[in-house]
Symmetry: C2
Subunit: 317 residues, 2 copies
Amino acid sequence: MNDTWITVYAPASIGNFGPGFDVLGAAIQGLGDRVEVRSANNNQVKIVDITGEGAETLPREAERNTASRAALLVLETLKSRGMSVGGLEMKIDKGIPAGSGLGSSAASAVAGGYAANVVCGSPLSLRDILLPITQAESEASGGFFADNTASSLYGGAVICKSSRPLDIIPLGGFPGLVVIAVTPKIRLRTEEMRAVLHRQVSLQDSIANMARSTTVVAALLMKNPSLLAGAFEDRLAEPVRAPFIPGFFDLRRAALETGALGCAISGAGPTVFALTDCQDRAQRIGEAMQAAFENVHLSSRLLITGIDEQGAREIFR
Amino acid sequence: MNDTWITVYAPASIGNFGPGFDVLGAAIQGLGDRVEVRSANNNQVKIVDITGEGAETLPREAERNTASRAALLVLETLKSRGMSVGGLEMKIDKGIPAGSGLGSSAASAVAGGYAANVVCGSPLSLRDILLPITQAESEASGGFFADNTASSLYGGAVICKSSRPLDIIPLGGFPGLVVIAVTPKIRLRTEEMRAVLHRQVSLQDSIANMARSTTVVAALLMKNPSLLAGAFEDRLAEPVRAPFIPGFFDLRRAALETGALGCAISGAGPTVFALTDCQDRAQRIGEAMQAAFENVHLSSRLLITGIDEQGAREIFR
């Protein structure tokens, strides 16, 4: 155990990553959560401070906060393997607004769980801590899905091959791919966005999404952005979720007309994102997307960034 | 035009390739159709001979035979681009039994269409001839799908990104991957096997197939056969098609217990195939699969082979 503070950063992430509903995810640069921990001489995890985006709304009980809950579950994993572990003190600095569709609860869980492992000397692998982290995140989001947690933990894009047993495939990053994320000032609850999904889909839509999600994986692994064109429309979740994001279809049209390779809802929304391999075009695409939100009287935040290839990491200041 | 005979070979192929219903396909070695053509001084395509598997059952009218129909449509494509083309004489040598689920009609269409282009001096690209070839194949199979035609034409595995407009992504081969194909002595009609499909599927099954088909693409591109484990079960077509293949589930269990990475129906069946990266194990897996068919009183043919990386090609004897 280590009684000086260590700091862990976990990036924001895009769940579904276009057509890959519950299957694909990708971490992004420039936005993330920070968790500081140090060991304590008891068996408790105690939150001593929460700062940043929406800090005042987040639970401070260790069992109910996603970051500390993930840390607790990682410590339990260590105990179950016969290690003697103590307690933790934790400070959380939220960089990602909750309910934005950018994997806010996932990043907190990843940072908390990763930090707990680091402070114990990193005896567990990423694969080992993904399960307790995803478990903690599922308690916040109401569903056991690893597209956000795995991409935030591993960095790059991921395939969630299976939920039970949890099995993911890291696909690495995509240098040169520009991610344009626009977050309107509305908030959607992941649980509600799950409730609107249809339990049955047409075989044709299922095939279309499979064709597109396999195409996205090929584009990522072949580092060929041009393959992404036409592959980002989702027929499983988007038709029922888009109505909760005013102006979405006009926004997408504007993004594509301005030269984006694709445009989709990030996770459960309301953030929408577009992709391009042309850095010079990114600002214009972002402004076109923001203008579409302004047309329906929504202000928004614009982030022009790229895929985060590192995932969760200890940072030193 | 060229009035000496030229010979084109097009490989058999596995449609769906496990979980990729209508989306993934892969060409295989060791089985294929041969088409010979030479130019003729008229505007007709004339079949002068058909030999090989089921030759006596195949139509000899140029408009109704898949190979000559593809050649006709390729010639029409050339005419529409302003080229002056004449007629063709064609001999067809069937290596792939019809109705086996190994892309028999696709290989004929590919060989016929490819040969027509070659005899005219190969003015068209593979991309150009894929559409007329797939059109010809669709008239035989009753559905416009390119998983067999594109893999037979390009070789290796393919993603069918979109049917209309037709857009495919060649993924290349997979050296070291062993394909074990077992064809029982029953025949299934592709059209009937399409009719049994459910028009609606559950969201959960759709997600599962998407997770698995993206995994298969990652395994192919990362050349990592171990990723294939657990990724080959199909929830879209297999549940309704397997009952037409006596003993299928016992056969799959036997293949997996003998060490196969995965086992699935090839295309619309009745051929079933298994994969392994261990050449030494392939014979035992094949025998276990054949024994499962024997248990339900079906004799079968065993082919132990690999992915064909070349696709359609002119052969010189």
